[in-house]
């Protein structure tokens, strides 16, 4: 039984992410956001469901497609917007941009634009957590494509060998840019992960934040208790093009129908009542963040030379 409060809470978070990204789409033609954006629209429930099971002390590592995770983990919206606008009050002083968000105060540890690069970092952080008795989870998000990189194999092996408290979350949207799974992978992601002796779970309903929260909370509890690695695959669907604000059904690599089917299951698409109820307050917050961003100064020479070593 889901409490209505939980549904509302997670819905609100997911909706906020969607509206933020829709506002980014809306503003993109102004050229004020001068950084490529990889939108999570359609995939918000994954971020929201997972982060609800984590505390600020738990660490999350993610990818270039991480507005959703940054926000769900509790990252400050103003700081994110300023980062996208390339301003000095951005969460990384404008040096990161959309592909490199971080919010250490809530355990959002950074995102890499080189596919699969953060997977081993999360295992390393889990090793540190274990050795330093931090009682802390380390979670890493990556796409289905990332599992093809060699470092994924190296990391699963190490994490299983040392029994590290790390949770691998594969956000499977079935595409790497425009390439389908079947053209890239000879293995089943889940079975392959099992071959390392890692416990696994697959969640098919990647639009259902309640389900994801429920399942992931159990997994998080298990890992907190056992200290052992876990692997979670969550099926999901990216509504927009791989990078950029548009749609790309013209590309011919997938059909609008396939995406529409997913939309028909997605609460943020179907529960219009909730959307109407919650949107106004969220929109205010978003507009305020844009104002914040636009009022923030551009970084200059001082920032340029800072933080190299």
């Amino acid at each position: 039984m889901t409490s209505p409060n939980l549904y509302t809470k997670l819905f609100e978070q997911a909706l906020k992410i969607r509206l933020v990204e829709e506002e980014i789409i809306h503003r993109y033609p102004t050229d004020k956001i001068q950084s490529p954006v990889h939108l999570s629209i359609g995939q918000e429930a994954v971020a929201v469901g997972i982060c609800n099971a984590l505390t600020d002390k738990d660490n999350l590592f993610a990818t270039y497609r991480s507005h959703a995770f940054y926000l769900a983990k509790g990252g400050d919206l103003n700081a994110m917007m300023a980062e996208l606008y390339g301003r000095v009050d951005g969460c990384c002083h404008g040096k990161g941009g959309s592909m490199h968000l971080a919010a250490p105060e809530v355990g959002f540890m950074g995102t890499s634009a080189v596919v699969a690069s953060s997977i081993s970092n999360a295992a390393g952080a889990a090793l540190a957590a274990k050795l330093l008795n931090k009682n802390q989870l380390n979670v890493v998000i990556f796409g289905d494509g990332a599992t093809e990189e060699g470092v994924y194999h190296e990391t699963l092996n190490y994490a299983a060998l040392h029994q590290l408290p790390v949770i691998f979350v594969c956000e499977n949207n079935e595409y790497a840019v425009h390439s389908e799974l079947k053209d890239r992978q000879s293995y089943s992601i889940l079975e392959h992960a099992q071959s390392y002796g890692i416990a696994t779970q697959k969640i098919e309903k990647g639009y259902d934040f309640i389900e994801i929260d429920k399942e992931f909370s159990k997994i998080a509890d298990t890992v907190r208790t056992t200290g052992k690695p876990y692997f979670v695959e969550i099926m999901t669907c990216r509504y927009k093009e791989h990078v950029g604000p548009g749609e790309d059904f013209c590309g011919g690599y997938r059909t609008e129908d396939a995406v529409n089917h997913w939309k028909s299951l997605d609460p943020i698409c179907t529960d219009t009542q909730m959307v109407e109820r919650l949107s106004p307050a969220i929109m205010q917050e978003i507009l305020a963040s844009i104002e914040f961003a636009e009022n923030s100064p551009f970084p200059g020479l001082e920032e340029l030379y800072q933080h190299v070593i």
Binding site: G97, M99, S112, V115, H178, S179, V308
Partner: protein, 351 residues
Amino acid sequence: MEIISYREALRESMESALANNDNTIIFGQGADDYKGIFGTTIGLAEKYGKHRVQDTPLCEEGMTGICVGAALNGIKPIHIHIRADFVFLALNQILNMAAKYKYMFGGHYDVPIFIRAVIGRSWGQGAQHSQSPQALFSHFPGLKVIMPSNSQSIIESYQYLLNEYSGPVISLEHRLMYDLNFDVDRDQIRTGKDALASYIVREGKDVTIVATSIMVLEAVRAAKYLAEYGIDCEIIDLHSTTDIEHSLIIESVKKTGKLLVADTSWVSFGVAAEISRIICENAPQYLTAPVVNVGMVPTPCPTAKSLEDLYYPNLESLISKIINLSGSGKNIPIPDEKSMADVYKKFKGPF
């Protein structure tokens, strides 16, 4: 004379490679999709088959090794990376295997693999999508590295390297040039090894500018501007960083006494350093002033536009450096152009 964009020149070169040699195979993430690697492979999978224009999984080291192995067994692979930064995942195969396979086994094997990697600024690419690793590759014997600065250069050097050369090659293509149009004169196509040679783009007597890739265009623009104020720049397009024509540079410096090196990467341990070495080993006495080097600021690449504009060279800073170096012209006005990216996003040429 035709007008051909950098992108079209690349696409044409890819198509001729497939057409001229049944054993040529193109590999690349998205090589067969509707965007076709920034348009350079569009339609080729349809025409030549998906086995010859292959999409690949995400596995740079593995794919490079597969290309090396295929090359050892009769295939001529072209392997494309949409960002040179991703090639760092494949450096073991490139540096330890491809560059050494011929030597290590006493000449038994050739490894004809041609790697295309896109470098450089477009906008907001950040620290991991903007690097220009020519210096890294050029330090290792066994590789050829080219940095074409226009369509003609692509057509001639790709033609030579894909048809006649049989060792590993890395071509670094600058993203900001893809949309630019260039004059191409097919009667003047350089053939054979000449297609790799450094060459004089513009003769001049006051300052020698040695430039790579898009910095050649910047140098040309600066030279045009300064010509009106009586500063006469000689510009050398280095073209290949592994096959540098020492005498061309030395002779030019002998004439001008002044050297500026403009490269797309960091200055330290970069092309600037190598050119200084060539001068110092051969003819330091020709220098009548300290050498000036232009490149990326010594930090990782920031994302914000305001920082990018400080990070990358621009016409304003280039021109003022040339003026200083030339020692003349205190009264020359400096143009107000702080962003190279802005220019190349609007200007389409022909250059």
